[in-house]
């Protein structure tokens, strides 16, 4: 009889095997989940009627799936299989394994064993592991090593590598790795923007701080402030803290005080570089006299509280060989340019000058009285004023015309006394004057008839003298009441050994403060009179420069509460140049945007 031997193997709680054997004397067995089957496997992965196992011949059995699901045969999923019982096979139905083998009597033995747990949860679990995040989150150790390694490579190894392999020339290779860019602590200032990413220009050697020599490769002609020995003498000895800091700095190889980078800090932002703070100057200048006994400079610690009075360069002797001297404004020095000029008469709101200005409004744009701008013209940069020019700034009123010939006005030539004398002699030589010529000064002119180029036929001084000969005319023009004399110092022939009439040369300085910088353009919002007492000045020798007190109404020290806190660098240049002290570009740009003022550039 054909038969199957079925061995159901299960495990006890302590792991012992229990085998229940049964012999089925049937040619065909039904396998499935349903309880009435020959082989009932309580396994939800199986269909109630899952497969048939049939005896084909003495050696062979056939297994075939009845439903839609197959079964496993030696690891493959099949729907039907014939098995040589002698060779044996391993079948897999859901969570059960059936091993086919041959018994001693030739019967097929089906050993059935449950190998999967009833559910996922029922499988063995490592409690410490499944209840923690292990396996869910990337391991701490791995992440730590990975992150540390990435950072060390990216931010340490690559920058050092790119430093070591830097091409000598500027290759402009946009693909070049600039690993050390990540090291930059901040953008460079505007002026040094081109050096961005070229760290080695300043940081020339690794672990050596930036030296002055690096700066001087480009800034070749920067003046030293003073000889190094004098600077060393002038520097105040720092306090205990300062000495300690200097000691630490020296230990770490920083250059001694006074290096370029002490004042000119970099990597502080992409804007313009900031001017050096006051403290860098006052370290020495605050108490300079204590250490440099021979210095002519007064101590200056703060503009608002401790700064010497201004000492402008004034002209003590006018003339062809003028002499100048620096004198404190406290000494009320006079400045003799060689010119005679009363500001008060010209700026008065009443009187002849004002009257005349009114009469010339349409031609010249004067107001109801003359203003500073009518005669003083600023330089192109607005910093200071051009010397007053007779032809441009005076002649509209003070005409030197003396005759009209066929519509052409003849004028005495300003600045050339020889030519004046020659012109007058020529005038008398050619023909006798039909009318007396105009040679008078300006003092007695009548308003209304003085537009430039008009011959004035009132003949004031000239009529009075009625020169009929050249010599007399020449004398009249150079003497009191004549056109030259009112403004100029005239020496007659014979005096000082002159052969002829001499006019003292006029020298109008454009700059008085030779070591400080004053920018008129920056003060456009002020009126001229708020600083220069011109309306009260009756003599051109009066120096109309304001003193430091006047400045201090707005300006104070760097840290003061004044309207305009002003460090030394606002007016003074450390590197002793002639130009303006260095100032951030944005500040000057802002300055240029100020609305044109009412009283300097009026046109």
């Amino acid at each position: 009889m054909i038969s199957f031997l079925i061995r159901q193997i299960s495990l006890t709680a302590d792991g012992r095997e229990i085998v229940r054997a049964a012999t089925m004397e049937k040619p065909q067995l039904i396998l499935g989940r349903a309880a009435e089957n020959d082989i009932a496997l309580p396994d939800l992965a199986l269909e109630p009627d899952h497969a048939r196992i049939e005896q084909v011949d003495a050696r062979t059995i056939r297994v075939r799936a009845t439903g839609t699901l197959g079964f496993g045969l030696d690891g493959r999923t099949v729907r039907s299989a014939e098995i040589d019982v002698a060779k044996g096979a391993e079948l897999r139905f859901g969570g059960h394994r059936i091993t086919v083998s041959q018994g001693e009597d030739g019967a097929a033995i089906l050993s059935i064993r449950r190998i999967d747990a009833v559910s996922e949860a029922s499988e063995d679990k490592d409690e410490a592991r499944v209840f923690s995040l292990r396996g869910l989150a990337p391991g701490k150790r791995l992440t730590a090593w990975a992150m540390a390694l990435v950072i060390l490579i990216g931010f340490l190894a690559i920058p050092i590598w790119s430093y070591a392999n830097r091409p000598t020339g500027d290759s402009r290779d946009i693909y070049r790795v600039r690993g050390d860019k990540a090291w930059s602590s901040g953008p460079l200032s505007q002026a040094h923007h081109a050096l961005e990413g070229r760290c080695e220009t300043c940081h020339q050697k690794a672990f050596v701080s930036v030296r002055d020599s690096a700066c001087q490769t480009c800034h070749k002609d920067v003046h030293d402030h003073a000889p190094a020995t004098r600077i060393a003498m002038a520097r105040a000895k720092p306090g205990l803290g300062g000495q300690f800091l200097n000691h630490v700095a020296a230990t770490f190889g920083k250059p001694p005080e006074g290096a370029c980078v002490d004042c000119h800090r970099e990597h502080e932002g992409a804007g313009p570089m900031q001017p050096a703070p006051q403290a860098f100057c006052t370290d020495c200048h605050g108490t300079l006299k204590d250490r440099l006994k021979d210095t002519k400079l007064g101590n200056a610690a703060d503009f608002g509280t401790s700064h010497p009075q201004f000492s402008p360069l004034v002209q003590t002797v006018p003339g062809e060989h003028p002499r100048f001297a620096r004198m404190s404004l406290d000494a009320r020095p006079s400045d003799d340019s060689g010119l005679k000029f009363p500001h008060d008469i010209h700026l008065s709101a009443t009187g002849g000058v004002a009257q005349m200005a009114r009469s010339m409004k349409t031609q010249t744009g004067f107001g109801d009285a003359l203003a500073c701008k009518d005669c003083h013209k600023p330089t192109a940069d607005g910093v200071r004023f051009l010397p007053v020019n007779m032809e441009r700034d005076c002649q509209m009123c003070h005409s030197l015309a003396f005759e009209t010939i066929g519509g052409t006005v003849r004028r005495l030539r300003h600045g050339q006394p020889d030519q004046v004398i020659a012109d007058l002699r020529a005038y008398y030589r050619s023909s006798g004057p039909t009318r007396p010529i105009a040679l008078g000064g300006m003092a007695r002119r009548r308003p209304g008839d003085y537009a430039q180029g008009q011959v004035y036929h009132a003949y004031f001084g000239a009529v009075a003298t009625r020169p009929s000969r050249a010599d007399e005319a020449i004398r009249a023009v150079f003497s009191k009441g004549g056109a030259c004399y009112d403004c100029h110092t005239v020496t007659p022939p014979g005096a000082n050994g002159n052969a002829d009439w001499q006019v003292l040369p006029v020298h109008q300085p454009m700059r008085y403060m030779m070591n400080g910088w004053f920018d008129h353009a920056a003060h456009r919002t002020e009126t001229c009179e708020s600083c220069h007492a011109a309306p009260k000045s009756h003599d051109a020798k009066q120096l109309l420069l304001p003193g430091i007190d006047s400045c201090r109404t707005c300006h104070g020290g760097e840290k003061s509460a004044a309207d305009v806190p002003s460090g030394c660098a606002m007016c003074h240049s450390y590197h002793s140049g002639d130009g303006a002290p260095w100032m951030p570009a944005d500040r000057s740009a802002k300055r240029d945007k100020v609305v044109l003022p009412r009283n300097i550039r009026g046109e």
Binding site: R33, A35, P42, L44, A45, E47, P48, G67, L69, V118, S119, E120, A121, S122, K125, E127, V130, F131, S132, L133, L136, A137, P138, K140, T143, A144, W145, A146, M147, A148, L149, I151, L152, F155, L156, P159, I160, Y163, D180, K181, A182, W183, S184, S185, G186, P187, H203, A206, F207, V210, L245, V248, G253, R265, H267, E268, Q274, P277, A279, F280
Partner: protein
């Protein structure tokens, strides 16, 4: 009693047994940290650095040195915690100092930067430090708030008991589902086959499992049987009740897992970020002196 007395005597004065590390010694280290911060802020305001505060001034270097020493000491907690000792220099005292001085580091390091931050290795180190500190703050917060919730949720069950409860329901489900036709049996099998500890990190942290097979199986079975009346004897009714129980048990287990995950997850940031910080700090210091 006699055996416990000497141990009690060894405890430092003023220390109470149930004091946490936050309240240790009446907030001694909180006070120390506050003092350090106030001193730092005051000196930052008093010291005149030109043109403005930055890490490269003498004040900046000083704060930087203090900061890096503090960071190294804070990192040492990882070694120190492996040796528990009582007393003044107890691990609790050390942890307390770790927390408060670590918080103080925010002030010290920020003043060291002079508020100059950018896209560079220096700010990278600062950002990593802040990441470490913020993850630490998160850790302290969950340590202070979550254990109570964890205890409430457990309802006196141990983790093993929770797992055993799920297993018991699974066995009953397995037996009850035997008579079912294949389609319905497959649904039940899905619930059995799903690992209750599965899901992604986000599922674990949020406690939401939109792909829960148990919930799906129950919904699908109810969809098919919703119109039938209860007889009280249908295998499907029994299975529905079992799935209901399993869902409740899973919810408890998942809440437990969520709270435990929150208690753990910050360390997965705190520790690796610390080592990243040490690397960035090395790069920061070397780069400063390299281009000096």
């Amino acid at each position: 009693m006699a055996t416990r007395a000497p141990f009690r005597a060894r405890r430092a004065k003023g220390e109470v047994l149930h004091d946490g590390f936050l309240r240790h010694a009446r907030f001694r280290w909180l006070k120390v940290a506050m003092l350090v911060c106030l001193l730092s802020i005051a000196s930052y305001m008093l010291v005149d650095v030109t043109p403005h505060h930055n890490g490269g001034s003498w004040y900046g270097y000083t704060m930087g040195t203090v900061g890096v020493l503090l960071i190294l000491w804070l990192t040492l907690l990882g070694l120190r915690k492996r040796a528990m000792t009582p007393g003044r220099w107890s691990l609790k005292a050390w942890t307390s100092a770790h927390v408060y001085l670590g918080l103080g580091l925010i002030v010290i390091a920020t003043l060291h930067t002079g508020f100059q931050l950018g896209w560079n290795v220096h700010t990278l180190a600062y950002a990593l430090m802040m990441l470490v500190i913020l993850s630490g703050i998160f850790g302290i917060t969950v340590y202070a708030t979550l254990p109570a919730a964890l205890s409430n949720n457990r309802a006196e069950m141990t983790q093993g008991q929770m797992l055993d409860a799920v297993r018991a329901i699974d066995r009953q489900l397995h037996d009850a589902a035997q008579p079912l036709p294949q389609g319905q049996a497959a649904l039940v099998r899905q619930s059995l086959e799903q690992n209750p500890f599965g899901g992604h990190l986000l599922n674990r942290l949020s406690g939401r499992y939109p792909r829960c097979a148990t919930a799906k199986a129950q919904a699908a079975l109810r969809h098919g049987t919703g119109t039938q009346s209860d007889t009280g004897n249908e295998p499907l009714e029994r299975i529905d009740a079992l799935l209901e129980r399993k869902q409740a048990m899973l919810a408890r287990l998942r809440r437990h897992l969520k709270l435990k995950a929150l208690l753990e997850i910050w360390l997965y940031v705190h520790v690796p970020a610390t080592f990243a910080l040490l690397a960035a700090l090395t790069a920061h210091i070397v780069s400063v002196f390299f281009y000096w």
